[in-house]
Symmetry: C2
Subunit: 172 residues, 2 copies
Amino acid sequence: KSSLQVLFFPDKDVACRDYFISGDGCFKSNCQFSHSKTSLSELCKHMMSSQRSLDVCVFVITCRDLADILLKLHRRGVKIRIITDKGMLHTDGSQIWTLQKEGIAVRTNNSSFFMHHKFAIKDQQVLINGSFNWTRQAITGNQENVLITDDLAVTSQFMAEFQKLWEHFDTS
Amino acid sequence: KSSLQVLFFPDKDVACRDYFISGDGCFKSNCQFSHSKTSLSELCKHMMSSQRSLDVCVFVITCRDLADILLKLHRRGVKIRIITDKGMLHTDGSQIWTLQKEGIAVRTNNSSFFMHHKFAIKDQQVLINGSFNWTRQAITGNQENVLITDDLAVTSQFMAEFQKLWEHFDTS
Ligand SMILES: [Zn+2]
Ligand SMILES: [Zn+2]
């Protein structure tokens, strides 16, 4: 009864932003990007279908496309919470500052170890988890996996982990 | 009907090598290490129960305890195959050279991108997958997760991915 999907990277083709992400459609007659399903386009589809909440717990976020989806959801009223690695805030192209400036709640670890998870939970129901950091290199270069499941026996444990870390990393 | 388990790191206590890994038991009267279950001890238990094969596809292996389990299994006749990241072969404390010298088959990517997976498949039945690299820091320092499942719908896709990469990275 539980549905699941496994995505592997790298994608051979780069998903078209306009076609899969902007939601306005792509009207370029000679678009260089893919209008066919890719692992990225599937991942985006899952994220964009969030109705109420998206809890993100990812080591590093530098990919503009994925950050833009978080902003889009946030503006639509979906509650976004982000836990990420403190050290990686300062990596080239980190999108965290922009997300935070737009009002998305962000918390980080405060140790010299890594907050190394790479998962997200949609609407407290669907787990997105794997080796995949939210970077451009992970999409088009690296060997990576993402497992998406709505098996409550799994998702509930990751929800509890998220909540534990969220409270633990509260510095207010 | 499918069984699954989720492990989170870091472990508060370090699992006792003798008690959980050597298999000879621990006879120290004041052992400093944990004889209670930890995430590492559970992971070791799964690995050590391999009967026929263990396919390992992990970015980096520097943890002696986990490398020792691979050696132990190899000597017991379990077929071990390792795919790892070429660049990480040269990281401090890499265990790959030792494993290879003992006769375990190792293949690596040959690009500047990362072979970034962190999964293993036991006896073509059980998938071990998550954010967890096989390093000491991942056990006692980082926030990490490992999901263990025997759901064939998931495992079969990772088996196919392993086989694809194994053939792709064949340089012989
Ligand atoms: Zn297009
Ligand atoms: Zn002991």
